[in-house]
């Protein structure tokens, strides 16, 4: 039909579409594209203790890439990312699987799904703080373990440790896995499962041969969220490790605090490239536009 419309009409349709998206374009241009370009440019600038100024030097990158601290930090951040991703995937998949295939009424599905999503709309900072009474030296975890006789001394590594960081990440971000996986699972044709069962497949075979392959787009979208959120994080690592653990995001935020903007910009560029490579790999497995 559209091809039969006169060209003029089509053109005005085009410009009308542009009018409709113009606010979004303006916001993204000024608060996304321009900031990224600025970061890229400033990463070649020079700085001293109290100021930064235009230049074209590679020192920021050379210093960054030659420092063993950078590599150690990336290794640490990757460790957090892989651990968080692993637990978010296992837990998120199981929760979505339960909601999609074992809860039978739609009302209950919506209610339980909302129960999972409501924390997402509350403050992350408070959700982090709320682990203190649980994990602290005299916290619930330690005192229960002592009264159960499992341990004699309170465990020191519960709060302000890498364990606490990963726990908080999983607590904050599992939701980003549950939602897309649930979404793709709800689209799986139930007759496929019946057919498989009629053909004699066991529950486990149905899971591995039908549900997991068909949930892959959701798993990929969830993974992209979890990976980028953890890779760029600076606040969870700082708070939950008690300032003891490093991460790429923390390095950037420390450089910002020291007003070393060009150094921070160079770190940010490297972080962005790393994240983009990781996303590009994951995007090979999914077409996001089909999933909405």
């Amino acid at each position: 039909m559209q091809s039969q419309q006169p060209a003029k009409n089509l053109n005005s349709g085009q410009s009308f579409s542009w009018l409709l998206v113009s606010p979004t374009i303006l916001i993204l241009a000024f608060f996304l594209v321009l900031p990224l370009l600025t970061i890229a440019i400033v990463s070649f600038w020079d700085y001293n203790e109290w100021n930064f100024f235009p230049a074209f030097i590679f020192d920021n990158y050379v210093y960054l890439l030659e420092s063993p601290v950078t590599w150690a930090t990336y290794l640490k951040t990757l460790k957090f990312t892989v651990l968080t991703w692993f637990f978010c995937t296992i837990i998120g998949f199981t929760v979505a699987f339960f909601l999609a295939f074992h809860v039978r009424s739609l009302t209950w599905q919506i209610a339980l799904f909302l129960a999972c999503t409501i924390p997402f709309w509350t403050s992350n900072i408070i959700r982090m703080i709320s682990w203190i009474p649980f994990l602290g030296r005299n916290g619930i975890a330690n005192s229960s373990l002592i009264s159960l006789g499992v341990i004699d001394e309170p465990l020191e590594w519960l709060l302000f440790s890498d364990f606490a960081v990963v726990l908080a990440f999983v607590h904050l971000y599992t939701l980003f896995m549950v939602v897309p996986v649930f979404n793709t699972m709800m689209r799986i044709d139930k007759t496929l499962i019946e057919a498989a069962r009629d053909a004699g497949a066991s529950g486990f075979q149905i899971l591995t041969n039908i549900i997991i392959p068909l949930s892959r787009p959701g798993l990929m979208i969830g993974s992209i969220f979890v990976v980028t959120l953890v890779m760029g994080d600076f606040i969870t690592v700082r708070f939950m490790s008690g300032g003891q653990s490093a991460s790429v995001g923390r390095v950037i935020s420390n450089e910002i605090a020291l007003l070393q903007y060009p150094a921070a910009a160079a770190s940010a560029v490297i972080l962005l490239i790393t994240v983009l490579i990781m996303i590009a790999i994951m995007l090979r497995f999914v077409d996001i536009r089909k999933e909405l």
């Binding site: 998206v21 993204l28 996304l32 999972c116 409501i118 924390p119 403050s123 900072i125 600076f234």
Partner: protein
């Protein structure tokens, strides 16, 4: 119905534990915020009181909590309105392909998954270089929109993918203008989803931290204020504040969900008036 399998019960227990994992810690600080005046940050409870809530309302060393709450609330409303309006416009435009739509789509996705600290740093740098003053209502709001808008737009994409275009065609056949079709046909149908977009817009802005860090200026928003408190406040007053703002968030969330539910109910009741106009 066939009987529940054994795996159902195992999964149900797993799900229950997950919910406990999600809500348990927050409930704990809810309880601990009622610590007695001499109680600490962990159990046991040292008496029960509202001492720490009372502390919050006293003007004292805790900082400018009420000012930052007011700012966060106003900012949340501003971001919410922009998110709803711009998302709907985007959703309408994206129903047909236009030049650059593919690029814009990837820009929207980028905005969603880019590490927040890059937005914070980049916007901070621009304002620094141009010698403009960062302020929560300008640079802060723009930075937050890079986080809330993609959510709103993706929700609108999902909504319009499921939208039955025959309603619009019917309206147009009856002589409605473009604006009349949107105003009297499309918007009422998608209204419950708009409430959802508004919920995202407000709550994500109200709780945003990373993208506001370098872009809000000298006056803190509430999450920044709370984070500042974590480094120097070591009394349950922190929990009291956490409890209050979580309760506030819950009221907002449940309010929005209730409105969306009522709208949908109304639609169902008034939905089909097919034939009633025929005499």
């Amino acid at each position: 119905m066939e009987p529940r399998s054994r795996s159902f019960y195992a999964l149900a227990i797993f799900f229950g534990l997950f919910i406990l994992f999600l809500y348990g810690p927050v409930i704990t600080i809810g309880i601990l915020s009622f610590q007695g005046p001499r109680g600490g940050l962990t159990f046991p409870m040292n008496g029960v009181s509202v001492h720490w809530f009372y502390d919050l309302f006293e003007k004292q060393a805790v900082g400018d909590i009420w000012g930052s709450f007011r700012r966060s609330f106003v900012l949340g409303l501003m971001v919410m309105v922009c998110t709803v309006v711009f998302s709907v416009m985007c959703g309408l435009a994206f129903r047909s392909r236009f030049r650059g739509s593919g690029l814009l789509f990837y820009l929207i996705i980028t905005s969603l998954i880019i590490p927040s600290i890059l937005i914070s740093l980049g916007v901070g740098l621009i304002f620094n270089i141009l010698d403009w003053e960062v302020h929560w209502s300008t640079s802060g709001m723009g930075s937050q929109l890079t986080w809330t808008l993609p959510f709103g737009i993706l929700i609108m994409f999902a909504v319009f993918n499921r939208f039955d275009k025959s309603y619009e065609e019917a309206a147009r056949d009856l002589g409605a203008s473009w604006w009349q079709t949107i105003r009297f046909v499309v918007l009422p149908i998608i209204a419950p989803s708009l409430i959802g977009v508004a919920l995202f817009g407000f709550t994500l802005s109200y709780d945003e931290f990373a993208r506001t860090l370098l872009t809000s200026g000298s006056k803190n928003t509430l999450p920044l204020e709370i984070f500042g408190m974590t480094t120097n406040v070591t009394t349950p007053v922190l929990y009291a504040l956490g409890t209050l703002t979580t309760v506030f968030s819950l009221i907002i969330i449940l309010g929005f969900l209730l409105i969306a539910y009522l709208l949908r109910r109304r639609q169902e009741r008034h939905g089909s008036d097919a034939g009633s106009g025929l005499v």
